[in-house]
């Protein structure tokens, strides 16, 4: 299974290249593009990125493993990122997590999502759901599943 | 030479050879047994032939068989003089054996007016013979050590050689004192001199007449025979096994046996020169012949008591501890030997009875006395061998420098002084 960037993404990359002093800087943007295009980052995609950015594949791979938001494996279920860091924990993230256990979703215990003032918080598909209560979680999941 | 003379020579030669060779296993056994008894052990007691252990003496024969059957091994690094390497132990062994042959085992036998020496070599210069032949023994040691091409062997040989030099001198000088005192170089005459008493109550033995020379003689002979405390030539802690490091199997056995023969010879010389030889203390040969009947009766009593005592001892000790269920046939052996000893005792008693009361033949009587003297000689010999052994298991080994110090600084001057005093006394007495 080989990977190639979609036309749209190739244009994006071409546009971005003008903004940076070196194509190497495109590593992260390309990884994001791949992740949005495929849902995860395959080894073939890494080779494709390597081609675009002139970074050796191993270095791209290393970058991909460094950042928690990149996924190297296909993910099937709905991904629910629940913040478990201090403010959210103080405001009851544990209850939310416990409640989610019974749902047919993949729960990711993530560190601070930067919504401490509106804790507890979870993120699904880049969207923040704030000031969570168990009822709120119920309705959100009902909508998404 | 008459036929009786030939018979006596043959008999005494056989006796001498047997005495020298058969005592080897005896002495090895004694060494082991005495050592173990001194050290609160049991010692060899397992080897047997059809259940007969003879108190463990069979072990010595087993060892001989073992050594005979061992691989004849020559170190590969010995390139030249291999024959000498092999011959060396034989020199030591044969020299010691030959030296033994000048020792008289009994008084001169008078057969029909013919005076016959009971001496394997019927010579009248036995002291010289002994000095000459006995000193050859160390050549075997030196050759063996030298031809081994081994530093330890060479060191051992050098030690043995230098020790012999240091001790031959006091030995010779102390013997000279005896020669001056006894006025003879014939062993038999020396024994004759020691018959009778000294100051009326002491047996006229060399040890009483010449105490200093006797002690020097004994010490020097300990050194000559390489016995403890003079075993520096084979000091295991420094030089492995000294001159015999490279010798194996029968070659080693030759050295080993040679040591025992030498010890036996040394004992015989000491007995002959210092402890009255074959003579019974206080009783000269003539006196025994004169009071033969009384002597025979006493002998009968002593024999009976001895056999009784021995059987009792044997019955007590030829057993295994109660902890063991199987005694390995010792009860049978004890029973057998009890009967054998009783039979032997009865036979001997009957012979003595015959000699004391029935026989009137002078020849028979003098032969009987000679036999008794041989027995006494053997007894003394064994006692002195026992002394050698006891000393070995009592004393630690001298350091090499101590050996030399003792030889040169103490024994040599002392023996010189002793000759001087002896000469003065002898000359004074004869004046």
């Amino acid at each position: 299974m080989s990977f190639s960037f979609s036309q749209e993404n190739l244009e994006k990359i071409a546009a971005l290249k003008k903004r940076y002093p070196s194509p190497k800087a495109l590593c992260l943007p390309c990884l994001w593009l791949v992740q949005y295009q495929e849902g995860y980052i395959s080894l073939d995609a890494i080779d494709a990125i390597s081609e675009q950015t002139t970074i050796p594949p191993m270095e791209v791979y290393r970058v991909a493993t460094f950042y928690t938001m990149f996924h190297l494996e296909k993910r099937e279920k709905l991904q629910v990122d629940v913040c478990k860091t201090l403010s959210c924990k103080l405001c009851g993230a544990d209850d939310i997590l416990q409640h989610l256990e019974s749902k047919d979703v993949t729960i990711n215990h993530v560190e601070c999502l930067g919504s401490c003032g509106t804790a507890p918080v979870m993120q699904i598909n880049d969207k923040n759901y704030e000031n969570l209560t168990i009822e709120k979680v119920e309705s959100i999941l009902e909508e998404l599943l | 030479m008459s036929s009786s003379a030939i018979v006596v020579v043959i008999i005494s030669f056989t006796l001498g050879t047997l005495l020298a060779l058969l005592t080897i296993p005896m002495l090895v056994w004694m060494e082991r047994r005495v050592a173990s008894l001194i050290q609160d052990r049991v010692g060899p007691n397992r080897t047997n032939i059809f259940g007969f252990r003879l108190g463990g003496i069979v072990q010595s024969f087993a060892d001989v068989v073992k050594l005979l059957l061992k691989e004849e091994y020559y170190p590969a690094h010995i390139k030249t003089g291999r024959w000498l390497f092999m011959f060396a132990p034989i020199i030591t062994f044969v020299a010691a054996l030959l030296a033994f042959m000048a020792i008289p085992f009994a008084d001169t036998l008078n057969i029909n007016g013919e005076l016959l020496r009971i001496q394997p070599l019927p010579i009248d210069f036995g002291v010289f013979w002994y000095l000459a032949i006995g000193a050859v023994g160390v050549l075997g040691v030196i050759f063996g050590g030298w031809m081994s091409h081994n530093k330890y062997a060479l060191l051992g040989a050098a030690r043995a050689g230098s020790m012999v030099i240091s001790y031959e001198l006091p030995l010779g000088l102390s013997i000279l004192s005896f020669i001056i005192t006894y006025d003879t170089i014939d062993f038999n005459a020396m024994v004759h001199f020691q018959t009778g008493t000294f100051f009326g109550f002491l047996p006229a033995w060399g040890i009483f007449i010449q105490p200093l020379a006797s002690i020097i003689l004994i010490i020097a002979l300990f050194a000559e025979t390489n016995r403890n405390p003079f075993t520096v030539a084979e000091g295991e802690s420094e030089i492995v096994a000294g001159y015999m490091t490279e010798h194996t199997a029968m070659k080693f056995a030759m050295y080993f046996m040679g040591e025992y023969v030498a010890m036996n010879t040394a004992s015989a010389v000491i007995i002959t020169m210092v402890f009255g030889g074959y003579q019974l203390p206080y009783f000269a040969t003539e006196e025994l012949l004169q009071h033969f009947t009384a002597f025979a009766v006493v002998m009968m009593l002593v024999l009976a008591l001895f056999i009784y005592g021995f059987i009792k001892w044997m019955q007590k000790n030829n057993r295994v501890t109660k902890r063991l269920s199987n005694d390995g046939g010792r009860a049978f052996e004890t029973r057998f030997f009890t009967i054998a000893f009783i039979v032997m005792g009865v036979v001997l008693e009957l012979i003595l009875l015959y000699l004391a009361f029935i026989s009137q033949s002078d020849l028979e009587r003098s032969i009987s006395v000679a036999v008794v003297q041989v027995a006494i000689f053997v007894m003394k010999l064994m006692l002195f061998n026992l002394f050698f052994i006891i000393i070995r298991w009592t004393l630690p080994r001298f350091r090499y420098d101590q050996v030399q110090t003792l030889g040169w600084k103490y024994l040599l001057p002392l023996s010189l002084v002793n000759i001087f005093i002896t000469a003065l006394v002898v000359v004074g007495v004869s004046l």
Binding site: L43, I46, E59, Y61, R62, T65 | -
Partner: protein, 458 residues
């Protein structure tokens, strides 16, 4: 060339170039400083934090590999605080280390062990159950085995593949205490210098598959030698050992630092060349493929020389030591023989690269050239004396001096391989180097000059 300045280390004066790295000075002066990540060719990475030294005027200990030498600097490497700091950081290195030294080939030449003996000697504060588990015994390819648990993440290997070979096979992935060295999934380590990472690795994370479990390193004796794989003349350590009741055997080659020739590294081909060196050796004289005695060989040798007088050619192998070549020349002159050393057979362009591999696969061809020996194949000779030259020559009769067995009917005499004798070599850059005898066989084979001496020449 920058200024040379005075600095004080542990109360003693030293001179060093200004703005050079402090750690270089410490290593050069033999002042004990522990480090994992620093390496002279790879530079400072500053990740192991072991090389802490105290610098007067700085309130905290500094890493020597990222400190530049300045005029009047006062450095302290031995104080209690520094020892304590090194000990504490070493302890952190060991926290997730499996401590499986018994099964680890690095044991004996492991920096962790050395530093532990120097600075640690403490009881571990961690229980085994708490350690981070990673994969063990991963075959990376190119004869390199990886053990991620033993790794201290010094990144020397990854920097080697990134900066020296520029092949980028290895990398540290993941982060935090889950970080580990690996190749990309499904890809292997494949470059001609890959096994150097084994030497670079300060711990047992990267070990040689070839040397794996073969010997414990403390049994090995290292001799200084020169690789004969090509004309580069890389300096090597010949690690060999004579086991009880066995013969002296080489277990591995390791690169030996020589900045003028090979730097820190050697190629994998050279590293593994010890194997064929020890296989299929010619061990006794043969004639018509059958073993003959030394005396018979000697006689045959003389007979052949007599028979073919005035029509003899001597062919010299360009791998022989200069001393050997000279004695062969002397010999050839005495018997009036022509001397040849064909070099074409050694040329192998596919072997060459721009790092350490030369296209000329003969260690001493420069000497042949310098001595002006004819490099054509021998002509019109009825007897050819082949001194281990790899080529086969046609002639009425041949005398061979061979290190290794070859199919031949001719009189063949066994000679010592280069590890079994010593001599000098001149590499392609005209640098003459001396190679010491490393291996001492139980029954040593003579060199060609030994033979010639024994046969009455020279």
């Amino acid at each position: 060339m920058s200024r040379v300045v005075d600095i004080i280390i542990d109360g003693e004066n030293y001179r060093a170039e200004e703005n050079s790295l402090l750690i270089d000075l410490l290593i050069q002066e033999g002042i004990k400083v522990p480090y994992f990540c620093y390496h002279e060719t790879l530079g400072a990475d500053g990740n192991c934090r072991m090389c802490m030294v105290g610098i007067e005027g700085q309130k905290r200990p500094q890493i020597a590999c990222d400190t530049l030498v300045k005029e009047g600097m006062v450095v302290n490497t031995k104080s209690d605080t520094i020892r304590e700091v090194r000990k504490n950081i070493l302890e952190l290195e060991l926290i997730n280390h499996p401590v499986d030294c018994p099964t680890c080939d690095q044991a004996g030449e492991c920096s962790l062990q050395d530093f532990y003996m120097e600075y640690g000697l403490h009881n571990s504060k961690i229980t085994i159950a708490q350690k981070v588990k990673h994969d063990k015994a991963i075959d990376l390819g190119a004869n390199v085995m990886l053990d991620q648990e033993r790794c201290v993440l010094c990144a020397r290997c990854t920097r080697f593949t990134a900066e020296i070979t520029k092949t980028h096979e290895l990398g540290i992935v993941g982060r935090g205490d889950d970080a580990k060295v690996t190749t990309m999934p499904g890809r292997t380590l494949e470059n001609d210098y890959a096994m150097n990472v084994v030497d670079l690795c300060p711990v047992g994370a990267l070990t040689s598959k070839d040397f794996r479990f073969a010997q414990r390193v403390w049994f090995l004796e290292s001799s200084e030698g020169i690789c004969h794989g090509c004309a580069k003349g890389c300096n090597i350590f010949i690690d060999h050992n004579k086991l009880k009741y066995k013969d002296d055997t080489i277990y591995r080659f390791r690169p030996r630092r020589n900045d003028a020739v090979n730097g820190f590294f050697i190629c994998d081909a050279g590293r593994l060349s010890y194997k064929e060196l020890q296989e299929m050796r010619q061990e006794s004289a043969t004639l018509h493929g059958r073993e003959i005695s030394q005396e018979a060989a000697k006689e045959a040798f003389h007979n052949l020389l007599l028979l073919h007088q005035n029509s003899i050619a001597v062919v010299i192998d360009a791998n022989l030591y200069t001393e050997e070549i000279e004695s062969i020349i002397n010999f050839a002159n005495t018997i009036d023989a022509k001397i040849y050393a064909p070099l074409d057979i050694y040329k192998d362009a596919s072997f060459a690269d721009e790092m350490l591999k030369s296209s000329m696969r003969a260690a001493n061809y420069k000497t042949i050239e310098n001595l002006g020996i004819t490099t054509s194949t021998p002509q019109n000779a009825t007897l050819i004396i082949n001194c281990n030259h790899p080529q086969e020559f046609r002639a009425d009769a041949t005398i061979n001096f061979f290190t290794h067995r070859r199919e031949t009917q001719a009189l063949t005499l066994p000679i010592a391989a280069y590890t079994e004798s010593s001599g000098s070599l001149t590499n392609e850059d005209n640098i003459t180097q001396y190679s010491k005898q490393a291996v001492f066989k139980n029954s040593p084979l003579p060199t060609i000059s030994d033979y010639l001496q024994g046969l009455g020449y020279e």
